[in-house]
């Protein structure tokens, strides 16, 4: 059922008073719940919930060949599946554009922030490197899958352990070392998506709020080393266009919110 006009009107009326249907303020996130290690066959894995929205993420690795333009680096590949288990609005079959976009946005967020030291995942330059696959599955969509998926990917990577690699047989054993992945911890970037509904900027939207928003903007934000925000990737989604003032306002809200929430996010990621 699409959001009826009378409902959209109500959502706007509430927002004018700074209220949302579930009692939250416009810049308030739902309760975040994290469970690490949901698959003991994965290098790293977790389940993350923001309110009722739940996502599973897992990291698997294998040995492959490097890409021609990065002969000395391992490969990262992030994918997402938004399947019909999570919502009556999702269909069976290969990923549709929503899953494709989500996977690519999360991928960029991790890649551009240089969270993973891909050079350290090179075994033999030009010949043999580690492939890191991060796979994300939507389990229940109650809005804001993008941010939940982003956090789940980070937590799965942060908790991952390098598999045992037998140099002689060139095989990966079914065991893990105690070593984490080569990560640049200080480069951690958290994906935050801001949604605009009429004149209001909202974070962590419900499905209805997502649907009536004119645009959304996802930003991967980390620490610049001096306690300030550093944006390493951006994606504007949906059609709505942004004025200069709005962009300025958005960035102010982003900075303020990021300063507030990043310490909590770091705790979820690093424990």
């Amino acid at each position: 059922m699409e959001v009826p006009r009378i409902q959209a009107r109500r959502i706007l009326e509430y927002l004018k008073q700074g209220k949302r249907f579930d009692g939250r303020k416009t810049d308030e996130y739902r309760k975040i719940e994290v469970k690490v290690g949901i698959s003991n066959k994965a290098e790293g894995s977790c389940s993350v919930k923001f309110g009722d929205t739940e996502v599973y993420a897992g990291v698997k690795m294998d040995i492959g060949t490097p890409y021609p333009d990065s002969q000395d680096s391992g490969n990262l590949s992030v994918g997402a599946e938004l399947g019909p288990m999570a919502s009556a609005d999702f269909e069976m079959g290969p990923p549709k554009i929503n899953a494709i976009e989500l996977g690519r946005v999360i991928d960029r967020g991790i890649r551009e922030s240089k969270f993973i030291d891909l050079k350290k995942l090179c075994i033999k330059e030009g010949e043999k490197v580690w492939n890191v696959y991060v796979d994300i599955y939507a389990v229940n969509d109650a809005g804001n899958l993008m941010d939940v998926a982003g956090l789940a990917a980070l937590i799965a990577l942060a908790n991952a352990k390098m598999p045992v690699y037998n140099e002689k047989t060139e095989r990966i054993e079914h065991e893990w070392t105690k070593n984490p992945l080569p990560l640049n911890k200080e480069n951690l970037a958290f994906n935050m998506t801001l949604y605009r509904i009429d004149d209001h900027i909202v974070v962590d939207p419900t499905r209805e709020e997502e649907e009536i928003a004119e645009f959304r903007i996802s930003l991967a934000v980390g620490d610049d080393g001096e306690g300030g925000a550093r944006i390493t990737s951006i994606q504007k989604g949906k059609q709505g266009a942004i004025s200069e003032e709005e962009m300025s306002e958005l960035l102010d809200i982003l900075e303020k919110k990021w300063k507030e929430i990043f310490p909590k996010i770091k705790k979820h990621v690093w424990g």
Binding site: S39, K41, S45, P84, A88, Y133, D135, Y137, V139, N140
Partner: protein, 239 residues
């Protein structure tokens, strides 16, 4: 049957007719009409049921009764060697045999032109994924209020060399001594006790198979109790 079996003790110390520890929970996916998680040892299955709901495309509709549609898949990170995302022939075959099994216990005669969709995902695999999937799916179907004649329970019986065991784990699945491992997933209806799913790969004599089915039937009775317990806890949970 005169030669002694090489498999005298189970790796994890279980008795031959002993199940792995079971964990079952109903109502884990709020958007679904019914949902459940079933865990047997290290194998975890989650299931979500949507329906009865309108079936598209129209040409697939049955004007006499609703249809059941099952989709089983494994998450890429559920196994040691990453599984490529998306369905493959194995998952399609498993979806079909699960569908055939579940059709025995649902009654969709009052819902013509509809579909009941069952989605099964495996986040962590340690053998017996299809049977764990069925066990989760049945609880999800019940919670979804789908009319059912009875419940259904499934288990993977195994034969390690000449020893019959119940609830095979991954190590046992890979057993290679003597006659090796024979994997026999089975599924029994709770009231009629009829066999709703049977597959086998390995080697077995008709006599051994009869014994295996008997062991499977007994094991399924215990699994049924765990499923009923999980369902009854739903009503009592007031958060």
């Amino acid at each position: 049957m005169n030669k002694k079996s090489l498999y005298t003790k189970r790796e994890d110390g279980r008795a031959f007719d002993e199940l792995r520890p079971i964990e079952a929970k109903v109502g884990i996916i709020p958007n679904a009409d019914g949902s459940a998680m079933y865990k047997s040892g290290d194998t975890v299955a989650i299931a979500a049921v949507f329906g009865p709901r309108i079936l598209h495309p129209q040409h697939m509709q049955n004007s006499q009764k609703g249809i059941l549609r099952v989709s089983y898949d494994m998450m890429t990170f559920s196994v040691y060697e990453r599984k490529k995302p998306g369905s493959n022939r194995r998952s399609q075959e498993i979806s079909k045999v699960i569908e055939w099994a579940l059709e025995n216990c649902v009654d969709l005669s009052e819902f013509p032109n509809t579909v009941v969709d069952v989605f099964i995902q495996i986040p962590q695999a340690d053998a017996g994924t299809r049977v764990a999937g069925i066990n989760a799916a049945v609880m999800a179907l019940a919670q979804a209020g789908v009319p059912m004649t009875e419940m259904i329970s499934a288990v993977a019986v195994g034969k390690m060399d000449k020893t019959l065991v119940v609830d095979v784990n991954k190590e046992e699945e890979d057993y290679e001594e003597g006659e090796g491992a024979t994997d026999i997933p089975v599924c029994f209806l709770s009231k009629s006790k009829k066999l709703a799913l049977l597959q086998l790969d390995g080697k077995i004599s008709p006599e051994e198979l009869k014994k295996a089915l008997e062991m499977g039937r007994k094991a399924c009775e215990k699994i049924y109790e765990a499923q009923v317990k999980a369902l009854k806890q739903v009503g009592e949970e007031r958060e």
